[in-house]
């Protein structure tokens, strides 16, 4: 790779790369994201390369490891180009068949195709999969197509064109005007208008002559992994967005603050930065224009609160991640007291798209106040776990049933949890609510960073609320009293209710305390921590009351309220449950009906899991 000295050199290079990009050339694209790797894609990738080498094909077929195309449920995923045949759930021993049958014989292997659960038929091609039908993939467009470790792939498909456009034909004011016209709002959760933030920041930078740009990649919300997938699958899109932002706000130094729990994303990000520096697209005198931008990576050290912007800045400065009161906002006084602009990964990755198409064109997607697309990670009790990018304004029902494929095992949908520990639950009656910032907030949930966890009839909503409260309580930094002690008191109450020791008045107490914690906490963590509790009380108060007054857990989850017993008519006396019980709570002998001693039983449920005769009852 040459160090590009001018815009013209870049354009020549891009033309060459674009001309060399050929989607009609046979190749295999294998998802090499964290999700598919965990399912064994690395072995599949290596196996394919080896097998192709060995088979001595007439024309060698390239095997490309790509970022995550989103359909995690069916990983490891392979797409055979040029037809775009989609093979799913690939095991290492499928490799030789793929090479001999499909690559050499031109035949499609039916058993590796996606089976439509409705019709039972096979779907051959990736674009025809129902999972992609209602999606609008702008940010995730290149995921699954390019090799994230090759900058050339990104540039061949038009990458860095928006940066060149900005540097050559646009003034900083014009760029900010475009971002404002696009209506883009922060994708990290709060939804602040991006263009407005940039404008405020630019004004301040011009006054003091210094400022910093930050990418918040500290995706701590459990169940959300869209930022990880963008960085893993297409890191240059985010870098390009940051470069455009730096140019528009006249800033020359930036940081990416990323979670250390995402090793592959960190690796791909570092590769991308090195490549961009080597190519002259990052560093001093970018493309000979005189514009400088230095970017460093900072690794998070495992603290959820560092996703909050003032805590994040403290952490970059090398201190403990404690938030501070705002104002002053980072745009006025941020890193080392200078104006600082913080946006999250998905927001940055939207910027090149906005500049390429124009702000007004971008604003045609979405609803009145929520423009563009949003990526959700749809997880939990759902058939098609994965990453989906949908236009704002789509309904929850479309996301869960049309894209997500509904609830597994014929169970009933109970709630969708949006926004993680800061968000809330929406019950079935709001399935037709449009997904946009205002509608979700009005219903007691939030857009959040895009985690969407589906709960079914087997999920206890009180236990669910307790789970989130345990999380926020552990992650509370302890600086302010309402969050430090308020979350503790709320958690203690929830634990009591789940243990079967709930008292009349507990729900009212949680509501009152929750409001106090919301209103008086220092930062976003405490101000939103009660949301999961308040929203479950709002929609599932009957479950709380069943725990408190009837001492029952309707979903049969809470250990203090359930008992395991053996159904004598069904028990064959096979000893399996007895052998698996770690607390020696099961008494019995061969071919004798077993009995569970409730005093020793820890309610772990292993007996029910291992029983082949459905002889264990929980009530």
């Amino acid at each position: 790779m040459n160090h590009l000295q001018s815009i013209a050199e870049f354009q020549t290079w891009q033309k060459t790369l674009a001309a060399g990009w050929d989607d009609s050339k046979p190749c295999l694209r294998v998802c090499d994201g964290t999700g598919c790797r965990a399912l064994g894609s690395e072995i599949v990738l290596a196996g394919l390369r080896e097998e192709i080498n060995r088979s001595k094909l007439d024309t060698p077929i390239e095997v490309i490891g790509t970022g995550c195309p989103g359909f995690c449920e069916c990983g490891p995923l392979i797409t055979v180009y040029p037809q775009r045949i989609s093979y799913q759930k690939i095991k290492p021993n499928d490799v030789s068949e793929i090479v001999s049958q499909t690559l050499m014989g031109g035949k499609i292997i039916e058993r590796l195709l996606y089976t439509d659960p409705q019709t039972g038929g096979h779907i051959r091609l990736e674009p025809d999969l129902p999972f992609y039908q209602k999606q609008k993939r702008l940010v995730l467009d290149f995921n699954g197509r390019i090799d994230p470790t090759k900058m050339e792939d990104y540039i061949a498909l038009g990458g860095y064109t928006s940066l060149v456009k900005a540097l050559t034909t646009m003034t900083p004011e014009k760029i900010i005007a475009e971002v404002k016209a696009s209506g883009l709002r922060g994708r990290g959760g709060a939804g602040f208008p991006t263009g407005m933030k940039w404008e405020m920041c630019r004004t301040n930078v011009l006054k003091v002559g210094l400022g910093y740009i930050v990418c918040n990649a500290d995706e701590g919300d459990p169940g959300a992994f869209m930022d990880r997938s963008v960085i893993e699958g297409n890191p240059h899109s985010m870098l390009e967005g940051m470069l455009i932002g730096a140019y528009a706000m006249d800033m020359h130094q930036g940081f990416v603050y990323i979670r250390a729990e995402y090793p592959l994303a960190v690796e791909n990000l570092r590769i991308a930065i090195r490549q961009a520096e080597a190519a002259g697209l990052l560093g001093r005198d970018i493309l000979g224009t005189g514009f400088d931008f230095i970017l460093s990576v900072r690794l998070g050290a495992g603290a959820f609160v560092c996703g909050e912007e003032s805590a994040l800045m403290a952490s970059i400065e090398g201190r403990i991640g404690e938030p501070r009161p705002r104002p002053p906002y980072p745009t006025d006084s941020g890193l080392w007291g200078e104006p600082t602009n913080i946006n999250n990964v998905e927001t940055w990755a939207n910027i090149p798209i906005i500049l390429a198409h124009g702000g007004e064109e971008y604003a045609k997607i979405g609803t009145g106040k929520s423009k563009g697309t949003k990526i959700f990670s749809v997880v939990g009790k759902i058939n098609n776990t994965g990453l989906v990018e949908v236009p704002m304004g789509i309904t929850l029902r479309e996301v869960i049933y049309d894209v997500g494929g509904g609830i597994p095992n014929g169970k009933k949908f109970k709630a969708a949890q949006l926004g993680g520990p800061s968000g809330g639950c929406l019950p079935a009656e709001h399935l037709d609510a449009p997904i946009d910032y205002e509608s979700l907030t009005a219903l007691g949930a939030i857009m959040g960073s895009g985690g969407l966890v589906v709960a079914d009839e087997d999920t206890c909503m009180v236990d669910f609320a307790r789970y989130f409260m345990t999380f926020t309580q552990q992650e509370s930094c302890g600086k302010c009293v309402p969050c430090r002690l308020g979350t503790k008191a709320m958690l203690a109450t929830l634990e009591r209710i789940c243990d079967g020791k709930g008292q009349p008045g507990d729900v009212e107490y949680l509501l009152e305390l929750g409001e106090h914690v919301k209103n008086s906490s220092l930062c976003g963590l405490g101000q939103t921590a009660p949301n999961p509790v308040l929203s479950t009380i709002r929609y599932f108060r009957d479950e709380y009351e069943a725990h408190i007054f009837d001492k029952t857990c309707p979903a049969k989850v809470c250990k203090g309220l359930i008992n395991y017993t053996v159904i004598p008519e069904k028990c064959t006396g096979c000893l399996v449950c007895l052998r698996n019980c770690t607390s020696n709570a099961i008494i019995g002998a061969k071919q004798e009906v077993h009995v569970i001693n409730p005093d020793l039983c820890t309610r772990c449920g292993v007996c029910m899991n291992v029983c082949k005769f459905d002889a264990i009852l929980v009530n």
């Binding site: 964290t34 999700g35 790797r37 965990a38 399912l39 995690c72 449920e73 990983g75 995706e219 701590g220 919300d221 459990p222 169940g223 959300a224 992994f225 990880r228 997938s229 250390a260 729990e261 995402y262 460093s296 900072r298 690794l299 998070g300 050290a301 495992g302 603290a303 959820f304 952490s315 970059i316 090398g318 201190r319 403990i320 991640g321 990670s377 997880v379 939990g380 009790k381 776990t385 994965g386 949890q417 993680g420 985690g451 966890v453 709960a455 999920t459 669910f464 789970y467 989130f468 999380f471 992650e475 930094c477 698996n580 770690t582 820890t602 772990c604 449920g605 292993v606 899991n609 291992v610």
Partner: protein, 158 residues
């Protein structure tokens, strides 16, 4: 594991030359020794010019740092939301009772450390257990038992 003061010094010096901070230096040391020995905190505070109290506060604030030595093998149970609704509490319970330790602790023979982690972002696989960097997905109590058996057997054969 043997602690080498000169090695710790090298790590800190490297960070001090670059644009790294106290956190970056401690992350490097943690990565090398899998915990922060007292020497590391003292040396880092002297070399980087921060009070020892600040080095200690950083070392105890972030989950990634540990002041206690870790076991030879690490088992991480993902406690993310998706794993939670799919049964990770039962998986953790089983590991705790089988290893005889609580999450966050190390077995007495210093072979195994059991830890929880807040979401690895591989939610399609939930519940997930990671043993020394290797992912095992869709865990059930039976699968945990098998996993543990193979981990224990591999250690014994060494």
């Amino acid at each position: 594991m043997q602690i080498s003061v000169s090695e710790i010094n090298d790590i800190i010096n490297q960070e001090a030359i670059g644009d790294g901070s106290l956190i970056a230096a401690l992350e490097e040391i943690q990565e090398r020794y899998r915990y922060l020995p007292p020497e590391a905190l003292i040396l880092a505070s002297e070399r980087l010019g921060v009070p020892l109290s600040q080095a200690y506060s950083v070392a105890t604030f972030y989950n990634a740092f540990s002041l206690k030595p870790k076991g030879k093998h690490c088992l991480h149970v993902c406690m993310g939301t998706a794993c939670h609704v799919r049964g990770s509490p039962q998986v953790l319970d089983r590991l705790e009772s089988k290893l005889g330790i609580q999450a966050g602790d190390t077995t007495r023979d210093h072979l195994y450390t059991l830890e929880t982690v807040n979401c690895l972002g591989a939610c399609a696989l939930g519940p997930i257990v990671v043993t020394d960097g290797e992912y095992s997905g869709q865990m059930t109590i039976q699968k945990v038992d098998q996993l543990l058996k193979s981990v224990l057997r591999a250690e014994k054969e060494k």
